[in-house]
């Protein structure tokens, strides 16, 4: 497939990188000289300088012979116009990143119906949703659903005192009908074997039926108190959306914002939440607002450094759970080192959404992790290399594992003896290096 990407900031660059690794031909258009240089050095793609909303520039980028346009600049209007121009020149599918909810409102399908944009990506909405979900299951930091919501993969951070810590996996008593499929240790993903010893601060991924989630989490997590209150640093788009969402589900919210105009705007939109105008880093201020008693501290300002430091600070002062928004890939490994529990990156969320869109039909769902690992839901087609064979017989690559099988509405947590049948849907956890091999196994 030939893909034109407009804008190679964090989101555009990451998308280009991912699509090019998937084997697609990528042409990138970027206005900023420095970004053009960076992208042309780092990407296996043709990078052009110019305004991606211009029909002429798009024509030069070969838009007529392309199948997909992804507009991911930081300006909504440019993205929308680029999609319009591309559609007019015959591109089959267009994806636009849109920041402002003025253009992206599910109740008002303006973008899709009127502008003909096939996929609108709002990283802010996705990030807010992601954070909200991670606060909803007590004890877990992340939950992703598969097979129409019947299978969940939960991510739990192991703490001292958990029955799973400092023991090999085979000795840990996980509840029946659940399986540990992945461990992320210091930013590195691996698929655990029976003799893998779990450690404190490991992020472990457990597959189970959706109705068993609480029980499964309870078996390994030390702290399963529900989140009743949260502090949000930064009342930008993510912070405000999150605060509104949390307000709706009855979590008491404090929003901290440095900019007076933004703070006022947030206060005018929120009904119950308390908006505080402060930088949010001073110890006195944070303690006065009881950061030590807060269940979750979420740092989602526009600046990664601020987010990381604030989250670390909050953790030191006693916040139970810390979440930081990280837009630049370079900072992701730091989060773990600084003791931040959860990172949310718009870059990954956008790439994941685009990947789902591009692979629509081939895979049912895909989620990207910061470590490069993926959780994929795949169908088992007739005649592929795994159909009709037991899992033990299939030569699965190191670093990939089948976590669950959905068969005729039933969920099966498989063992080596279980046989995959054509028509099954399977949830696979795989580290980055094994992704291609896994896809080949399930291809016809």
């Amino acid at each position: 497939m030939r893909v034109v990407i407009v804008g190679v900031g964090e989101v555009g660059f990451n998308t280009a990188q991912m699509l090019s690794r998937e084997g697609h031909r990528v042409v990138a258009v970027e206005q900023d000289e420095a970004l053009v240089e960076h992208a042309s050095q780092q990407l296996d793609a043709l990078v052009m300088q110019g305004n991606g909303a211009s029909p002429r520039v798009l024509r030069e980028a070969g838009i007529e012979s392309s199948d997909l346009l992804v507009a991911a600049t930081s300006t909504d209007e440019v993205n929308i116009v680029a999609c319009l121009a591309a559609k007019a020149q015959g591109v089959a599918r267009t994806v636009a990143r849109v920041h402002s909810s003025d253009y992206y409102d599910k109740k008002e399908p303006f973008a899709r119906d009127l502008l003909g944009i096939d996929l609108v990506i709002s990283t802010e909405q996705m990030a807010a949703k992601e954070i909200r979900e991670s606060l909803l299951v007590p004890g877990a930091v992340n939950v992703e659903s598969f097979a129409g919501g019947s299978i969940d993969v939960v991510e739990v951070i192991l703490k001292k005192g958990s029955p799973a810590v400092d023991r090999p996996v085979r000795e840990v008593e996980f509840p029946e009908q659940s399986l540990i499929v992945g461990v992320v240790r210091e930013g590195e993903a691996l698929v655990p074997k029976g003799d893998t010893i779990l450690r404190s601060r490991d992020h472990i991924f457990l597959v189970c039926r959706q109705r068993d989630v609480k029980e499964v989490v309870g078996a390994v997590a030390t702290d399963t108190q529900p989140v009743d209150d949260a502090m949000i640093l930064g009342a930008g788009r993510i912070g405000l959306l999150l605060a509104l969402a949390l307000e709706e589900i009855g979590i008491s919210v404090k929003v901290i914002e440095r900019d007076p105009a933004r703070a006022r705007r947030a206060a005018s939109k929120l009904r119950k939440a308390l908006v505080l105008q402060d930088e949010g880093v001073s110890r006195e201020f944070l303690l006065q607002e009881r950061v030590d008693k807060t269940d979750a501290f979420v740092a989602v300002t526009g600046d990664d450094r601020t987010n990381l430091l604030a989250a670390m600070n909050a953790r030191r002062l006693g916040s139970r759970m810390t979440i930081a928004g990280i837009s630049r890939g370079e900072f992701a490994p730091l989060a773990e080192a600084l003791g931040v529990d959860v990172t949310v990156s718009p870059r990954l969320l956008a790439a994941g959404a685009i990947l789902r869109f591009v692979r629509r039909g081939e895979v049912a769902a895909v989620f990207l992790l910061e470590s490069g690992a993926q959780m994929i839901e795949l169908g088992v087609p007739k005649g592929c290399r795994v159909a009709g064979r037991s899992l033990a017989q299939v030569d699965f690559p190191e670093g990939a594992i089948v976590g669950a099988v959905a068969r005729e509405g039933e969920v099966l947590i498989p063992t080596g003896g279980d046989v995959l049948r054509a028509g099954d849907n399977v949830v696979v956890f795989t580290v980055e290096s094994a992704v291609d091999e896994v896809e080949r196994l399930f291809a016809t």
């Binding site: 005018s268 308390l274 908006v275 505080l276 607002e289």
Partner: protein, 484 residues
């Protein structure tokens, strides 16, 4: 300042006041109560004066675009307009020989400001046409001469927006229509509708047409002038009392809500925060006074009726009376005085500080307490889902201070006239809240009649101050205003 524009506008207002006097003149002619001349002379004089101010000084059409009308002009027009109309409106009382010029001006100002304070002890002995004029003056004052302004503003040659905001009693106005003239028309229709409904209802309840018209006019304007010395109590009818009470409550609601309701947004109108608090306050007053009356041995039905009527009457600043509320004991008295001070909804004809201001002041005060614990909290002043600009918050605080200060200073000056402190305070309180009654003898015709002339003029000043919501009148008293 633009003397020509000011003269033009005041001319129109005074002329319109003269034209309004033709109504009671016609009534006098038909009924033959002998007051034709008492109206004809001032009516002609007002029309002449208005004409003289309007036509010769009229700005040429060609120069309309270049006329800049500042806030100063507007404030001056409003205050001079009220004073002019009240002055001409007092003439019929003088010419008919009913009272002297001072009392007449007091009566006229109490009419146009819808205060309802009066020096007339027995209205039954006064010529019907004069009573009708009193009621008409309240009715005209209730909707505000502003409507007239808005209707004729283009004649004078400037936009009416400033005028409207200088006069309309809505600190947090909601523009109903794109053009302010259309808004004014809507308000006028609501006002007319309420009035006509009042006439019909009161007639059906058993009043004769003359009483029904008069009381409809003074109910809708929440003025409180009556054709009887005993006010509504004279009719001795529970139905009439209920109708009048309902009329007062309807007139104390923001008229913009009627427009919303008529537009099909009834739910939104009923959900208006100010309306809910306003009705709750009336209910609260009713409950307290009823309980006190009932505990004192009055039958339940009568207690409820009296408590409800007085709560509605004083809450809206009308001042109608059906029972001797001044002897209801200190708890009831206190509650009713509090209702008077809080007043009715903004954008109504009622008096007091206005419910919305009190609500926002209370919220502001609470926020100050809250900020003791959270000094960095961003505490917006919200009304419904609208955010009140910080500038307005300060305006509310200033308003509240001036309100208290006006009460204090006024009380002291009245005390200077030798009144007992309670009466001194009561008289200023009743006029500033444009209610016309307070505790003790205050509110009785004999009380006002016996005041020295200077005290009467002072009270007319407080009536105007209250009607124009403090700022518009006070700005005229600053040296800065007159500096060019």
């Amino acid at each position: 300042m633009q003397p020509r524009v000011v003269a033009n506008a005041v001319g129109v207002v005074v002329g319109a006041g003269g034209a309004a006097m033709l109504l009671p003149m016609l009534f006098s002619l038909l009924t033959g109560d002998g007051q034709v001349l008492a109206f004809a002379v001032p009516a002609l004089a007002a029309l002449l004066a208005g004409g003289l101010l309007f036509f010769p000084a009229r700005s040429r059409r060609g120069s309309r675009g270049s006329t800049y009308v500042s806030g100063r002009d507007v404030y001056l027009i409003v205050v001079l307009g009220w004073l002019g109309v009240a002055a001409f409106g007092s003439a019929p009382f003088v010419i008919s020989g009913l009272m002297g010029p001072t009392d007449a001006f007091f009566e006229s100002m109490a009419g146009f400001t819808t205060t309802g304070a009066s020096t007339v002890g027995r209205p039954e002995g006064v010529a019907p046409s004069l009573l009708l004029w009193r009621s008409i003056s309240q009715w005209a004052g209730g909707i505000g001469i502003v409507l007239l302004f808005v209707a004729v503003a283009p004649l004078v040659g400037f936009g009416a927006t400033q005028l409207f905001s200088a006069e309309a009693a809505d600190p947090v106005p909601e523009r109903l229509t794109a053009r302010i003239r259309d808004t004014a028309k809507i308000l006028a229709v609501v006002y007319l509708g309420l009035t006509l409904g009042g006439v019909v209802a009161l007639s059906l309840a058993g009043m004769n047409l003359f009483d029904a018209v008069n009381h409809a006019l003074t109910t809708v304007s929440t003025g409180g002038f009556s054709t009887r010395a005993d006010s509504i109590a004279a009719f001795d009818s529970a139905t009439i009392e209920l109708f009048v009470a309902a009329g007062m409550i309807l007139s104390g609601a923001n008229f913009a809500l009627y427009f919303q309701a008529a537009r099909g947004r009834l739910g939104r109108a009923l959900g208006n925060a100010e309306l809910i608090v306003y009705l709750s306050l009336v209910l609260f007053g009713t409950l307290v006074t009823t309980a006190v009356l009932y505990a004192d041995g009055s039958p339940m039905g009568q207690s409820l009726l009296d408590g409800f009527f007085q709560s509605a009457s004083l809450s809206t600043g009308t001042g109608f009376v059906t029972a001797d509320w001044k002897s209801w004991g200190s708890l009831s008295q206190g509650v009713l005085l509090l209702l008077m001070a809080i007043g009715a909804c903004a954008g109504s004809t009622g008096g007091g500080m206005k419910v919305v201001r009190v609500m926002l002041l209370a919220r502001h005060a609470w926020q100050e307490v809250f900020r003791m614990l959270h000094p960095q909290a961003v505490t917006l002043l919200k009304f419904g889902d609208r955010v009140i600009p910080e500038r307005l918050r300060l305006a509310f605080l200033g308003f509240f201070f001036i309100y208290i200060a006006a009460l204090a200073v006024g009380t002291l000056i009245m005390a200077l006239h030798g009144l007992p402190l309670g009466e001194a305070f009561g008289s200023v309180f009743s006029c500033l809240n444009i209610t016309g009654v307070a505790l003790g003898p205050v509110g009785d015709a004999s009380f006002f009649a016996e005041l020295p002339a200077s005290a009467k003029f002072l009270l007319t000043f407080f009536m105007l101050l209250g009607r124009l919501e403090l700022f518009t009148v006070l700005v005229l008293l600053t040296p800065e205003f007159w500096r060019s």
